[in-house]
Symmetry: C2
Subunit: 416 residues, 2 copies
């Protein structure tokens, strides 16, 4: 089985100013074509280290994908180092030069020598045109080992992977057979799920592997199986996942690359419904999650981010006496926020949130981490009280995801 | 100089379902106490690989920090592997057991044997109490080399780093001298900045290093200097940064761990001003960025996410004829959104956004990527037209940051 390694180059990664999101994306993309990633290494902009790391990676893997260090600035040395590693001379690629010129012209920027130098490339590489930026990718092939160098900027790397690298790897190595299926859950933690599915997990055949992938407010369960026959493996994975649905179906909101917002999009578009939000403690995160996806304008009417009590009253008609009597963080206020959102936005459904996100605030009755989330249509209301910790970011994230999960259940399982 | 390496363990990282944010955070934290990180490696949940990687890391570094693989589930094997690596027996830590019991009781979860097993630990380690979760950290020390194992869940790791690991490393190794200063810019790309500061960069002394750290809508410039005398180095870094301000001060919005939202918080709180937003294409991201930080309620009155034309009219009083005549994506509509937000929210300042975020939509006059951002108070309005690409996520992010930068300049440099 062909295996890959990833090397991320950049002092910025080792001083911790940039999070390496490339490695995860590339790993997932390679796995989907049956190429497992055995190791991912991050190193600095240092020629000797780069060469040594490449050598070590080739001892474990046949494909090494490198990102970073191709920018026009002085600290970027990857291209020069690769030319040394492959003992290669240089060529000037006129197609790259024309592309760089065109990009600068379009944006109205002044072209400098460092930008034009992007067209100087090691003779031994196949140039991969980067339509998203000025630094091209480089494909080296020697002794049946492949090395690809790409820019570290995520959308440039993704473009090169999709258009150039993945197709070339597939045509060279054909497909290995790995079947993954990932089930997405929201509502309880990793160990609660583990306890519920323990017997099933213990009984899994040896060629299957279950991974728990927790993030705030969401646990993903990925079942992977390896084998020789695509159809057989797929059927067996499907059969196991069906058992999983029997056990914890209530927690499952989707699969694979779905997200709670994408599931909500699908439900509202397919049922021709409309939605609005009235947000206090989530501060716009619900609206942002919904509108981050294309096509939100079809069903999302809008949001009132009513951070102050004054605006809860003025913008969506919460009764000021309700706030006075029960507090802004209360079932009663959330009820009126829901009614107000349905009326103001003339939407079929509304979500409302109010709580103490922390890290300070709260009161005796409702300490930090107390968050009310509610869903309503013109027939029915559900309000749920969450008791979370005192991590603000986490609380806002969990409250938003919990509200979307509550909305999904409200529509898909109206009798629960 | 003592050096560190990071090892992240988890199949979930190699199949790409979880982005490794821990490595960046830990690297930054170690750098701040003068411990450079020389390499960061991600490997799977495999005992032999874990042992081999630790051995190799110890060849380059004196401190190895490991995250991941400490969960209660079957695929987590780090603890067992470390016991083997150090040829250690086992002990049961009653303090950890009591803590696990208390956490479960507080949350109303049922305690299972796998949870209690978190209190079984290698005899040779110093147990680091993890008040944020059930898996404790482990500190091993042998032959002047330190290995620390922590959970992969970011807020648990961060707690252990701040409370246990960093103080212990500092007291053991004292401080190395590295001075960093990071200047944050918004408005133009990496190569435009590079061209503007080229002569200065070329003239930097050898013991200083400049790194460009681009992310969508923001380029950070980190100047690092190494030496023996804290004060001398700091003075020299400060002098160089002062020159940087002379050259590109207009682009700089802050330094270090500041962000545009944190700078806006500071300005509005110190000047006792209030703010609201009326968002179309940014869909709540501006409100979310502002309210993600504690204390937003002091100055942030709220937001109207007016995704539909209907809501632009109804919620904040945009004239429907304006939308009809000029379109929702126009200077004229944004002008009325600003006026409407100031009036509706009774705020001193308002931000408004309207544009085609993409990836599809737009028209001949205003193609995808055309976004109007505006700022107003009761005296003055500034509206700026951005022409971005067709990457929706990127466009929304850049538009939001550009709007916050415009707001900052509007207040801090009112005559520009």
């Amino acid at each position: 089985m062909k295996q890959a390694e990833l090397i991320s180059i950049g002092d910025e990664l080792l001083i911790g100013q940039v999070v390496n999101t490339n490695a995860a994306w590339m790993a997932e993309r390679l796995n989907l074509i049956g190429i497992p990633v055995v190791q991912a290494t991050t190193i600095g902009d240092d020629a000797a280290t780069i060469k040594k790391t490449i050598q070590e990676s080739f001892e474990r893997a046949d494909i090494v994908l490198i990102t970073g260090g191709l920018g026009p600035t002085k600290d970027d040395i990857t291209k020069k180092t690769l030319a040394e590693f492959y003992q290669s001379g240089w060529k000037h690629d006129i197609e790259v030069e024309n592309h760089v010129r065109a990009m600068f012209e379009k944006r109205g920027y002044t072209l400098s020598d460092v930008n034009l130098a992007q067209a100087d490339l090691p003779e031994k590489c196949t140039v991969l045109m980067n339509k998203m930026g000025t630094a091209p990718g480089m494909w080296f092939e020697e002794n049946e080992k492949i090395l690809v160098s790409m820019p570290g900027i995520p959308y440039e790397m993704k473009y090169l992977m999709e258009v150039e690298v993945i197709p070339r790897i597939q045509s060279k190595f054909g497909n290995q057979i790995i079947v993954h299926r990932t089930v997405l859950t929201q509502g309880v933690g990793e160990s609660v799920i583990a306890a519920q599915i323990e017997d099933w997990e213990n009984a899994l055949p040896r060629y299957m592997k279950l991974a728990y992938l927790p993030s705030p407010g969401c646990v993903r369960l990925r079942l992977s199986a390896f084998g020789n026959n695509q159809e057989t493996i797929k059927n067996q994975v499907d059969a196991q996942v069906a058992l999983l649905y029997d056990m914890i179906g209530d927690l499952i909101f989707g699969e694979g690359i779905e997200t709670l917002p994408s599931v909500i999009h699908q439900i509202f578009k397919s049922k021709n419904l409309t939605l609005s939000t009235a947000e206090s403690c989530t501060g716009g995160l619900l609206a942002q999650k919904i509108t981050a996806l294309e096509g939100a304008s079809i069903f999302f009417k809008g949001a009132a981010i009513v951070y102050s009590n004054e605006m809860k009253v003025k913008l969506i008609g919460v009764n000021s006496e309700t706030i006075e009597k029960f507090g802004a963080v209360s079932q009663e206020t959330v009820q009126e926020m829901l009614t107000g959102a349905l009326k103001t936005f003339e939407s079929d459904y509304a979500i409302a949130t109010s709580g103490f996100a922390g890290p300070v605030g709260g009161n005796e009755l409702n300490p930090v981490g107390t968050i009310y989330i509610g869903i309503a249509n013109d027939q029915k209301t559900i309000i749920k009280k969450l008791q979370l910790g005192n991590n603000r970011e986490r609380n806002i994230e969990i409250a938003s995801l919990s509200a979307l999960q509550l909305l999904r259940k409200f529509i898909q399982q109206p009798n629960n």
